[in-house]
Amino acid sequence: MIGFENVGYAYPGGSPVLDGITFEVSDGEKVGLVGANGAGKSTLLKCVPGLLEASGIITVSGLRVSRENIAEIRRKVGFVLQDPDNQMFMPKVIDDMIFGPVNYGSTREEAEEQADSVLRGLGIPHLRDRYNHRISGGEKRMAAIATVLAMRPDVMLMDEPSSSLDPRNRRALINTLSGLDKTMIIASHDLDMILDLCPRVILLDHGTLIADGETAGILRDRELLESHGLELPLSLSGQKGI
């Protein structure tokens, strides 16, 4: 379970980006995090593995995010960054995939076996020995998710996972994510993807929590969405909003 209690954050010398955020995510739950640009979605995600030091209390599986627990928390939490080019820093996909597991104590052989099984599971075993800079954007996105899955995290945080994907790759990504039995928080502007993947959604605006509830209900509320810089998802825009 992930808990946020009165979480706040302000960049040095800046105004608060997050203010008084409180909610909980249960084990196995998939939660969408939506909001206009600058709402604080990415900042909130970065606070969970301690990349940013937030005020308030964040807990992951009962462990409070703090300097003492950070290694244990990062072991439990997989973070898929917005730009896969930044996520993949090793020369080849396989090197990137074994990076985390070996750092956390697996032998190289175990890590490679684990990586192979993840690649097979995602249907991308052909990417194993490819150079990161030679694969397409869609493949890179899938490989970035694979590098995180290879660490067998309990929780996955994803920042705009469908950005820059073509429709076919986007659909493949949605199918892959929906098949994963993990706790997930997905920050995205792709409301249709959130609608497909997440039964629950949290709406942020200017760092405050505006709404938290059933996705179908919140994403059909045209007035609520428009007053916070969003629009109805395309798949619902033909239907009449509330």
Binding site: M90, Y104, R108, A111, E112, H133
Partner: protein
């Protein structure tokens, strides 16, 4: 396509060369590194007038290029920016050293001319050897092997990160110069008035990207050590071949082969 974009493509082309399969590619990175280091050290140690002895040293990189199945012209085309600098070394020697060493026909050849040619050849040969090493060896494989020899992990990480960040830097430069040229039609290069802003922006952008890359690393437990998958299996002939090559290079340094061959006929 601007120069920065060409540099990005050149970097990627080096990766293509590294990933080829040839007898030279299959040798262990460390054995190739050792031979290259020995070659460069001994080539640089030739005396300034020892032109004939030095001439024979070209044979080693030439054989290397054949074994690696890489045309020698690839080296020269990739290094065309550096070669004039290498050639410029010693260009003033003919003016300072006017001592006549020998005559060809009626033309006096001074020590300055010979030492200039010697310096140029040393530079070109060393560049050829270094390029061959880079074109047949992945940096990560070299760092992995160096770590096996207890090479400090800090230095190994530094080499690897410098190499990886070169591509980050060139990517950013390419994106920025492209954006600039699209709004400055007909202009060649970046105007001097925006160099400061351009460099400042470049620094900020690369720092942002470096931050993100570092975040990705620490999130996966980075502790200063890079780990690699099995990679290409090195040939068991790596070290015997390296020993043989080093012996041949040392012999070529000790014995002036062209002079020896000449003495057989004259």
């Amino acid at each position: 396509m601007n120069d920065a974009e060409r540099a990005v493509l050149d970097l990627r082309a080096m990766d293509e060369l590294e990933s080829m399969d040839s007898p030279l590619h299959r040798l262990s990175p460390l054995s190739k590194f050792t031979v290259t280091a020995v070659y460069i050290a001994l080539t640089a140690s030739f005396g300034r007038y020892d032109l004939t002895g030095l001439l024979f040293m070209v044979i080693f990189p030439l054989i290397g290029y054949q074994l690696a199945m890489i045309p020698v012209r690839t080296c020269f085309s990739r290094l065309k920016g550096v070669l004039p600098l290498v050639a410029a070394v010693g260009v003033l020697n003919p003016f300072f050293d006017r001592n006549v060493l020998f005559r060809i026909g009626g033309i006096a050849v001074t020590g300055g001319v010979v030492s200039m040619l010697t310096l140029m050849m040393k530079g070109v040969f060393c560049l050829m050897a270094s390029f061959l090493l880079m074109a047949t060896t992945a940096v990560d494989e070299l760092c992995r092997d160096l770590r096996k020899l207890h090479f400090p992990k800090m230095l190994a990480s530094l080499i690897l990160l410098t190499f990886r960040y070169t591509s980050v830097l060139t990517d950013e430069v390419a994106a920025m110069t492209q954006a600039y040229s699209l709004r400055a039609p007909g202009q060649k290069g970046i105007h001097i008035s925006v160099w400061g802003t351009f460099l400042g922006q470049l620094l900020l952008r690369t720092m942002d990207r470096a931050d993100d890359l570092y975040d990705a690393m620490v999130l996966r437990g980075f502790n200063g050590e890079f780990h690699y998958a099995g990679g290409r299996k090195s040939s068991r002939w790596s070290w015997p071949a390296a020993a043989l090559s080093c012996a041949a290079i040392v012999a070529a340094r000790l014995v002036n082969v062209p002079a020896l061959l000449g003495s057989l006929f004259i």
